[in-house]
C-alpha cells in the first residue's frame, strides 16, 4: 500500500511542475488535481464500495473506474493521434490497416447474384472508436476494395471529447455526406439504444482494456450482433512471447511512453495509466477464453492439428505479440 501512496505523491509533484504547466490547459489540470486527491485515499474508497477493480496499478472502486478513464481520455483527446504515432513509432497505423484488411468489411457485389434480392447493407459498430481512424479505414476498404457503397459505420465512444475529435475528422469525408457514418455516445457495457441482432461487425480497437466489466461488454456485443456476426478486437497484450524482446519492450513502455506523454501532451499520468492498463489486460489465451465463454465461436479452435502452426491458436499476434487480434463469430 505504501507504494501506492508514494506513486500518488510522485504524480502530484509531476502534475505541479511549473515547466509542464506552462502549456497545459486549465481544465485538464483541474481535473487531474482532483484525481490525484482521490488516489491518495484508496483505503477509504474500498470501505465505501466493497467491489473494486484496477485502474492501471491502482485499486479503485468499480464505480470510479469509468470516470477515471473518462478523465484520462478527455485530457488526451486533442493529442491522441500524434501520441499514438510517437509511442508506437507509427506502427499502430500498420496494425490498424492489417486489422481492417483482415476483417474485409463490405459486401462485394457478385455478378452472379444480380438477379437475387439485394442484400441489406452491412452495419458496423466501432466501439471506443473515438477519433474514427478505424471507421475511416473500414469505409475506405468497403468502398474501394469491395465496391460496397452501402456499408454503414456507427462510431461509438463513452467519451464526448473523443467523439468530438472523430466528428471533426469524419465530417469532411464523402462518407458523412452519404450518411454512412453515425455517432453514438454510449457505454459499451450497456448499449440499450442498439437493438438485438442488428450489427454485422462489432470492432473494438485499443479500447476494451479500459472497460470496467469486460465480460459485460462481451455479453452486450453478443446481444447486438446478428447470428453469424463477427466480434473483432485489436488490443495490446501484456507480455511478448520472446523474453528478450519483452525486456526491451517493457523498458520502452515504462520509461519512454510516460516521458513522451509528459513532453508532448503535458500529461504524464494518463500515459502512465496507459502502460499500466496494458500490464493488467488478460493474456491472449485468457482473453480468447473469455470470448469463448461469452458464446462466440473462436476461429481455429478444435480443428485437426490445433496448436501446431500459425492460425490455430484462435488469435493473431502482431509485432512479436505487442498487440493481438482476437475474433469471434456468433453462431446461428
Amino acid at each position: 500500500m505504501s507504494s501506492h501512496i508514494s506513486r500518488a505523491s510522485k504524480r502530484l509533484r509531476i502534475a505541479q511542475q511549473p515547466t509542464a504547466a506552462g502549456w497545459m490547459c486549465n481544465s485538464c489540470r483541474r481535473s487531474f488535481a482532483s484525481t490525484n486527491r482521490s488516489m491518495q485515499t484508496p483505503e477509504q474508497q474500498r470501505k465505501e464500495a466493497e467491489k473494486t477493480t484496477h485502474f492501471g496499478y491502482e485499486t479503485v472502486a468499480e464505480s470510479l473506474k469509468a470516470s477515471k478513464v473518462a478523465t484520462v481520455f478527455s485530457s488526451v483527446a486533442s493529442s491522441y493521434d500524434t501520441m499514438n504515432d510517437l509511442m508506437s513509432l507509427g506502427i499502430h497505423r500498420l496494425w490498424k490497416d492489417h486489422f481492417v484488411r483482415g476483417l474485409n468489411p463490405g459486401i462485394r457485389p457478385s455478378p452472379s447474384s444480380s438477379s437475387t434480392t439485394p442484400r441489406e447493407p452491412q452495419r458496423i459498430l466501432d466501439i471506443a472508436g473515438g477519433t474514427g481512424d478505424i471507421a475511416l479505414r473500414m469505409l475506405d476498404h468497403a468502398t474501394t476494395l469491395n465496391r460496397d457503397t452501402t456499408a454503414h459505420v456507427t462510431v461509438s465512444d463513452i467519451n464526448p471529447e473523443m467523439l468530438a475529435e472523430g466528428r471533426k475528422r469524419l465530417s469532411s469525408t464523402p462518407y458523412a455526406a452519404a450518411n454512412r457514418i453515425s455517432f453514438l455516445e454510449a457505454n459499451a457495457e450497456n448499449l440499450h439504444t442498439v437493438p438485438d441482432a442488428s450489427i454485422d461487425l462489432y470492432t473494438v480497437a485499443f479500447g476494451i482494456r479500459n472497460f470496467t466489466h469486460k465480460d459485460a461488454a462481451l455479453r452486450e456485443a453478443f446481444r447486438v450482433l446478428k447470428p453469424g456476426g463477427v466480434f473483432a478486437c485489436l488490443e495490446f497484450a501484456p507480455n511478448l512471447s520472446n523474453p528478450l524482446f519483452n525486456a526491451v519492450y517493457k523498458r520502452w513502455s515504462f520509461s519512454a511512453i510516460p516521458l513522451i506523454g509528459q513532453v508532448v501532451a503535458a500529461d504524464r499520468d494518463s500515459y502512465q495509466y496507459l502502460v499500466e492498463s496494458i500490464e493488467r489486460f488478460p493474456k491472449q489465451e485468457d482473453w480468447a477464453g473469455m470470448i469463448r465463454e461469452a458464446g462466440f465461436v473462436v476461429p481455429g479452435q478444435g480443428r485437426e492439428g490445433a496448436g501446431q502452426g500459425i492460425g490455430s491458436e484462435g488469435w493473431e499476434d502482431l509485432s512479436f505479440g505487442i498487440a493481438a487480434i482476437h475474433k469471434g463469430v456468433k453462431p446461428l
Binding site: 457478385s110 478444435g302 492460425g311
Partner: protein, 248 residues
C-alpha cells in the same frame, strides 16, 4: 505447454477430469473413431463453400457464397484467417480422410505396392470428381506461398502416411521414412502433371504415376542392394583386419 504442466501437477486421479476434450491421437487408432477434423460451424461454411469451387475456384468469393448458403453472413468468413488457403486445406483434409472409404481391398492377396498405386490414383481421381482440377494450379500457388508452405507440407506428409497405412505397410525400420518421403514427392509430381492432363479419365496421369512408382521401385531396390553390398564389404574389412591380429 502450460496446460500439460498443470495437468501433470494434478493428482493422478483428477487428471481425467481436467482433460476437457479427448486429445486427438497422433497415430491410427483402431479403438477410437477419430473426432471430426473441423468444428461444426466451420464445417458447415467450408463444405458449402466447396460446392462453389468448380465455378469460382479456391477464392474468397467461394467462401462468401458458402457462408451465405449455410445461413451465415459474408463477414462470418472471418472464421478463416487465411481465406482461400483455409478452404484449400479443408479440401485436402477431407479428401485425405475420405480415402479410407473410397478404396476397399477385398482381396487380401493384393501386394502393398499395388495398393499404394490404386490409393494414390484414387486420391488423384477425387480431384477430378470434385471438379477442382482446373483451379488446382491456383491452389498450388496458394500452397507455395512462404507462410503456407509448412501447413501444405504437413498435409502432404499426412496424406502419404495415410496411403501407406491404408496399404497395410508395417515397416518399422528406416524405410518408414524413405517410403513416406518418396511417395510424397511422387504424389506432388503426379498432382502437378494432372493439372495439365488433357486425356480422358486421367489416363496420362495414370501412366505418369506408374512410371514414377516404377522408378521409385527400381531406385529403392538399387539403394537397398547397394546398402547390403556396403554392409557385406564393411563386415569383410573388419574380418580381414581381425585375421591380421588387430583387436576390433
Amino acid at each position: 505447454m502450460s496446460l500439460r504442466n498443470s495437468l501433470l501437477r494434478a493428482p493422478a486421479t483428477l487428471r481425467p477430469l481436467l482433460v476437457q476434450q479427448p486429445a486427438r491421437a497422433l497415430y491410427h487408432s483402431y479403438e477410437h473413431s477419430p473426432a471430426p477434423p473441423y468444428p461444426e460451424t466451420e464445417t458447415k461454411i467450408l463444405s458449402s463453400a466447396l460446392t462453389h469451387v468448380p465455378t469460382h475456384g479456391f477464392t474468397q468469393e467461394a467462401l462468401n457464397l458458402g457462408a451465405r448458403d449455410a445461413g451465415y453472413l459474408d463477414i462470418s468468413t472471418n472464421l478463416f484467417r487465411k481465406g482461400a488457403f483455409d478452404l484449400i486445406l479443408y479440401y485436402l483434409v477431407t479428401q485425405r480422410l475420405a480415402l479410407a472409404n473410397r478404396v476397399q481391398f477385398p482381396d487380401t492377396t493384393t501386394g502393398v505396392g499395388l495398393k499404394v498405386r490404386s490409393l494414390t490414383m484414387s486420391r488423384l481421381r477425387a480431384n477430378g470428381e470434385a471438379g477442382v482440377v482446373p483451379h488446382w494450379t491456383g491452389a498450388l500457388g496458394h500452397m507455395s506461398l512462404a507462410e503456407n508452405i509448412p501447413a501444405s507440407l504437413r498435409e502432404l506428409a499426412k496424406l502419404s502416411d495415410e496411403i501407406w497405412f491404408l496399404a497395410g505397410d508395417k515397416a518399422v525400420d528406416a524405410s518408414w521414412y524413405t517410403k513416406r518421403a518418396t511417395l510424397s514427392s511422387v504424389y506432388a509430381a503426379a498432382e502437378m502433371y494432372q493439372t495439365q492432363d488433357q486425356s480422358t479419365d486421367f489416363k496420362d496421369t495414370e501412366a505418369f504415376l506408374d512410371r514414377r512408382l516404377e522408378e521409385v521401385r527400381v531406385m529403392g531396390s538399387a539403394v537397398g542392394g547397394t546398402m547390403q553390398w556396403a554392409g557385406f564389404q564393411a563386415g569383410a574389412v573388419v574380418n580381414l583386419l581381425r585375421s591380421k591380429g588387430m583387436r576390433i
